[in-house]
C-alpha cells in the first residue's frame, strides 16, 4: 500500500508531477492557492519557439487531472506548516472559504451572470472586470464558482449600505443557483495531511515594477508587463486578442519591449530571468501577426537565445517579421501628457548616441521572483529554493523527501520545468511506495 504525495502548486510543473505520480498508481494531493490549476502558463497566449497555443497544450493536461481518481485537487489553499520527515510528513493546510459548495456546484455560471458587483479580474491582470462571484477562467479546472469575500456585498457590506439595511444584503447568487451550492456560512478550513513526500512547484510572481519608478509603471497607462500583454494578445483575454492601449483603447503603432527590468541588476535582482528575451521576441511576433503594420522594437543588453530553436526563432523575428533589436538599456520612460505616448531614453550602443525614442506602448520584461512556501528547506542567496546537489541529486531540496521543480528553483522555461517534474515524481513515488528512503551520501547522491 502506498502513501500519498503532496504536490504544492498547480502550474505546468505541478500538473506534470501529479499526472506522473497518478500514472504510477500513487495518490496525489495537488494543492494550489488559486481556484484553478494552470498557473502562469494558462495566462499565456502562445509559447516560444514553436508558437504553440499555450492553452491548447495545457488544458488537456489540466483536464487529464480529473480522469485520475487518485488525484485530489485542493484549491484556494496554502501550506501553513510542515513537520516530520521523509516517508511521514505532517502538513497543515489552510483552505480559504469559497462560499460555494464545490461538491454541488457544476460551473453553469448562472450566479456570475446575476452578480451585481464588479472588481478587477486578476487572471486578466486587472485589464478587465469580473464579478464578486466568479469562475476563474472558462477552462478552469476545477470549473467551480467562488466568491471574493472582499468584493462581495453580502460578506463585506459597504458601511453606508450596512447601516441603512436591516439584515443581510444582496444574496442574489444564493437565490438563483440551481444547485443550491452557495453557502455564505463557510469558514476557513484546516486540513491535515500525512504524506510520504512533498514536491514544491509553487512557481513565481513578477517583480513589482513599481519598485523601479523610472519606468513609470502604474503611473503611465500605456506601460505594461509581459503578463498583461499576454492577456491582451490572448483570444480569451480581456480584449479578445485586440492589442489596445489602456489610455484610449486604440491599437498601438509602435510597441517597445524593455528587457532586464529588475534583472541582472545588483540594485534589485542580480540573476538573469532566463526566458524574458524569448518571451519578448514571441510577443513581438504575435503583435506583428495581429497587426502587420505595427513597429516592434526590443531594447536589450544580451539576447539570451540559448535553447533549442531559440536562435532560429530570433532570426525569424528579425528577418521574417522585421522586429528591431536595439542594444541599449532603457533607463527611464517619460510620458507625453496629451497623447499618453511614451518616450524611452537609452544609449544606442551600436552608434554610441544617447537617444530618445517615442512609442505608444511599452512592455516591461520584469524579473521573476520565486514564490517560496513556508517549508523548512534552504534557499539560495537570491531567494530560490536550493538544490541539495544539482549533479548528484537533481530535484532534491536540502531536506530528505522534499523535492522542488520549476521556476521556484531557478529561472527556466517550460521544457526544463516539465523534465524536472517527471524526475521528481518518480523519486517521490519511490518513497510513497515504501521503498527505502534515499540516504544522502557524503558529497551528494544516494546509496543504491
Amino acid at each position: 500500500m502506498s502513501k500519498p504525495v503532496l504536490v504544492l502548486g498547480g502550474g505546468i510543473a505541478g500538473i506534470q508531477a501529479a499526472l506522473d505520480l497518478a500514472e504510477q498508481g500513487v495518490d496525489v494531493y495537488l494543492v494550489d492557492k488559486l481556484p484553478s490549476v494552470g498557473g502562469k502558463m494558462a495566462q499565456l497566449d502562445k509559447t516560444f519557439p514553436t508558437l504553440d497555443c499555450a492553452s491548447c497544450i495545457l488544458t488537456p493536461k489540466m483536464a487529464a487531472l480529473l480522469r485520475y481518481p487518485n488525484i485530489k485537487l485542493i484549491m484556494c489553499s496554502e501550506v501553513q506548516e510542515v513537520s516530520g520527515s521523509a516517508g511521514n510528513f505532517l502538513v497543515r493546510i489552510l483552505r480559504r472559504p469559497t462560499y460555494v459548495n464545490w461538491d454541488l456546484c457544476n460551473g453553469c455560471g448562472t450566479c456570475v451572470e446575476k452578480c451585481p458587483k464588479k472588481v478587477p479580474d486578476e487572471f486578466n491582470m486587472g485589464l478587465s472586470m469580473r464579478k464578486a462571484i466568479h469562475i476563474m477562467f472558462p477552462q478552469a479546472v476545477p470549473r467551480k464558482a467562488l466568491i471574493d469575500e472582499k468584493a462581495c456585498i453580502r460578506l463585506n457590506p459597504p458601511p453606508e449600505l450596512k447601516e441603512k439595511a436591516k439584515g443581510p444584503l444582496c444574496g442574489i447568487c444564493e437565490r438563483v443557483c440551481p444547485a443550491k451550492a452557495v453557502d455564505f456560512s463557510q469558514k476557513p478550513e484546516t486540513i491535515e495531511l500525512n504524506v510520504a513526500a512533498i514536491i514544491i512547484a509553487t512557481g513565481m510572481e513578477l517583480y513589482d515594477p513599481r519598485n523601479i519608478p523610472e519606468y513609470g509603471y502604474g503611473k503611465y497607462q500605456n506601460v505594461f508587463t509581459h503578463l498583461e500583454f499576454e492577456r491582451l494578445v490572448s483570444a480569451t483575454g480581456p480584449t479578445q486578442g485586440e492589442i489596445v492601449r489602456r489610455s484610449d483603447g486604440r491599437h498601438p503603432k509602435r510597441i517597445a519591449w524593455i528587457q532586464c527590468v529588475g534583472s541582472r541588476d545588483v540594485r534589485f535582482n542580480s540573476y538573469c530571468s532566463a526566458f524574458c528575451c524569448m518571451a519578448a521576441t514571441k510577443e513581438a511576433i504575435l503583435a506583428k501577426e495581429h497587426m502587420p503594420d505595427v513597429e516592434c522594437t526590443i531594447y536589450y543588453m544580451d539576447i539570451r537565445a540559448f535553447g533549442k530553436g531559440f536562435n532560429e526563432f530570433v532570426n525569424r523575428a528579425k528577418k521574417e517579421f522585421g522586429i528591431k533589436y536595439v542594444r541599449g538599456k532603457v533607463v527611464k520612460i517619460d510620458e507625453n501628457p496629451s497623447t499618453k505616448n511614451l518616450v524611452v531614453t537609452y544609449e544606442d550602443t551600436a552608434s554610441s548616441y544617447m537617444k530618445k525614442e517615442e512609442h505608444d506602448m511599452v512592455v516591461l520584461a520584469v524579473a521573476i521572483r520565486p514564490s517560496c512556501p513556508p517549508i523548512p528547506v534552504d534557499l539560495t542567496a537570491d531567494g530560490f529554493v536550493k538544490l541539495r546537489d544539482p549533479y548528484l541529486d537533481p530535484v532534491s531540496t536540502t531536506k530528505d523527501g522534499i523535492f522542488v521543480v520549476g521556476v521556484v528553483a531557478g529561472a527556466k522555461d517550460i521544457p526544463d520545468s516539465v523534465t524536472e517534474a517527471s524526475a521528481a515524481a518518480a523519486r517521490a513515488a519511490l518513497i510513497a511506495k515504501g521503498y527505502e528512503v534515499p540516504v544522502a551520501v557524503d558529497g551528494g547522491g544516494y546509496l543504491a
Binding site: R264, D265, R267, K332, Y346, E347, T349, S352, Y353, M354
Partner: protein, 397 residues
C-alpha cells in the same frame, strides 16, 4: 572576413598599462561594466554630445590609449553622480570618470610627477614636505631682521626676494601647466590637421566654461556651482592682486604705491586689505563648504570618492588661507613675531600649491576643463553649452 592588411590607424590593444594605471587611481571596477549604456542615457550632458561616456569607459577597458587621450569626455563630466545611481552593476561610472581624469592629467604632464603623486600617498606627502622644507630653507636664507617693535614685513622678507621666489615658482608652475595644456591640445587634436572651427570663434565657449564654470551650473545642488565660482574668482582675485604688486614693484616701479598698498593704515592699503580679505573669505568659505558636504556623506561625494590628492589640496589651501588671515590678524594686533612666522609659513606653503596641487591635482581641473572643451569644440565636436555663431548649425547658446 579573412585576415587582411588593416590600415595602420586601426587601434591596437596593448597589454595592461591603461588599466594598471586606472586601478591605482581608483578605477578598478571598470571591468564590471557590461556596456549597457545606462550611464550615458541618464547623463544630463549626453544629449548635447555626439559620443558617449560608456565609450570612454570602453576605451579604457580595451586599452585603447590614444583613443582615451584624444577623448575630451572626462572633462565634460561635472560628476553629478547620476550614472552611478543608475548603473545596474554598481561599476561606479562616476568614479571611473574621476580616475580617468587623473589618468589623463598624468598623461598630459610631461614631468611624470603627476602619475607618481596621484597614485601614491607616500610620494605626495613626501613631495609636499620636501617642498615645504625647501621653502622654509629659502626663507631662512634670505630673511632680514625680525623687527620686534613693530610689524615690518618688508624688512623681514624683502619684497624683491619674495618676488624672486614667486617668479621662479610661477615660471616652473606655468611651464608645467602650459606644457600639459599643449600636450593635451596635441592629444585632442590627434591627427586632425584642419580643425573645424577657428580658435577665435571658439573663444566665447572657452570664456563661458572658464568664467562661468560651466557645466557646473547644471548641478542640481547649486551650492557646488557656487563653491566652484567662489574658489575660482577668489584665486583669480588674489592672482590679480599679486600681479598688481609685481607690476608696481618690478615692471613699472612705484615704491610709494607699493608701500601704501602694503600699509593697512593708508586708505589704499586698507582697501587692498579688504580685497584680500574678501578673496580669502571666498576661498575659505568654499573649502569649508566642500569639507562639510563630504563629511555629511552626501551621495555626490560617495560617488566620486575623496582621494588623497583632494585631501592634500584642501589642507594646503586651508593652511594658506588661514595663515594669510593670521598674518593679517597678527599685524592688526601688532604681534610682530607671530606675524613673521605666519608670513613665513604662508609663503613656504605657496610652492606646494603652485608646484604640486595646481599642476597635478584637482586644482588643475580649473584649467583643463575649459581648455579641453575649447580644443574639442575646435576639433568639431559638440560640446554642452557651446556658443556657436548663428548659421553654424548649432544656434546660439
Amino acid at each position: 572576413m579573412s585576415g587582411g592588411i588593416f590600415p595602420p590607424t586601426v587601434p591596437v590593444i596593448k597589454g595592461g598599462k591603461v588599466t594598471g594605471s586606472l586601478k591605482k587611481l581608483g578605477g578598478g571596477d571598470l571591468f564590471i561594466c557590461y556596456q549597457c549604456g545606462s550611464c550615458t542615457a541618464i547623463c544630463p550632458v549626453s544629449e548635447e554630445l555626439d559620443t558617449s561616456f560608456r565609450k570612454a569607459i570602453r576605451y579604457a577597458q580595451l586599452e585603447l590609449e590614444d583613443r582615451l587621450l584624444s577623448d575630451p569626455l572626462p572633462w565634460l563630466c561635472y560628476y553629478c553622480g547620476e550614472c552611478t545611481k543608475t548603473c545596474p552593476r554598481d561599476a561606479k561610472p562616476s568614479r571611473i570618470m574621476d580616475s580617468l581624469r587623473r589618468y589623463l592629467i598624468s598623461k598630459y604632464d610631461w614631468t611624470h610627477v603627476a602619475g607618481l603623486v596621484q597614485s601614491s600617498k607616500l610620494y605626495l606627502t613626501l613631495a609636499n614636505i620636501v617642498l615645504f622644507v625647501l621653502g622654509l630653507l629659502f626663507i631662512y636664507l634670505i630673511h632680514g631682521p625680525m623687527n620686534q617693535e613693530k610689524v615690518d614685513l618688508s624688512g623681514f622678507l624683502p619684497p624683491s626676494k619674495v618676488e624672486l621666489m614667486g617668479i621662479s615658482v610661477g615660471i616652473v608652475s606655468l611651464a608645467i601647466i602650459l606644457g600639459g595644456l599643449y600636450r593635451s591640445y596635441r592629444f585632442i587634436m590627434h591627427d586632425i590637421t584642419n580643425p573645424a572651427r577657428g580658435p577665435l570663434s571658439s573663444l566665447p565657449t572657452l570664456a563661458k566654461y572658464l568664467l562661468l564654470q560651466f557645466p557646473m551650473n547644471r548641478c542640481e545642488n547649486k551650492r557646488r556651482w557656487i563653491d566652484h565660482l567662489l574658489i575660482f574668482y577668489g584665486f583669480l582675485l588674489l592672482g590679480m592682486m599679486t600681479l598688481t604688486l609685481f607690476i608696481v614693484l618690478t615692471v613699472a616701479p612705484n615704491p610709494e604705491v607699493f608701500a601704501s598698498l602694503r600699509n593697512p593704515s593708508t586708505p589704499l592699503g586698507s582697501a587692498w586689505l579688504l580685497l584680500g580679505a574678501v578673496a580669502s573669505a571666498m576661498i575659505l568659505y568654499s573649502i569649508i563648504s566642500s569639507i562639510v558636504n563630504r563629511l555629511r556623506g552626501k551621495d555626490i561625494y560617495y560617488i566620486t570618492a575623496t582621494t588623497h590628492t583632494d585631501i592634500a589640496f584642501i589642507i594646503v589651501v586651508l593652511l594658506i588661507t588661514l595663515t594669510g588671515i593670521f598674518v593679517l590678524a597678527f599685524r592688526l594686533l601688532n604681534q610682530p613675531i607671530l606675524t613673521y612666522y605666519s608670513y613665513a609659513i604662508h609663503l613656504a606653503l605657496q610652492p606646494l600649491l603652485f608646484l604640486i596641487e595646481l599642476p597635478f591635482s584637482k586644482f588643475s581641473h580649473f584649467i583643463y576643463r575649459p581648455f579641453i572643451a575649447y580644443f574639442a569644440l575646435m576639433k568639431g565636436m559638440r560640446i554642452p553649452n557651446a556658443v556657436l555663431k548663428r548659421g553654424m548649425g548649432g544656434g546660439l547658446l
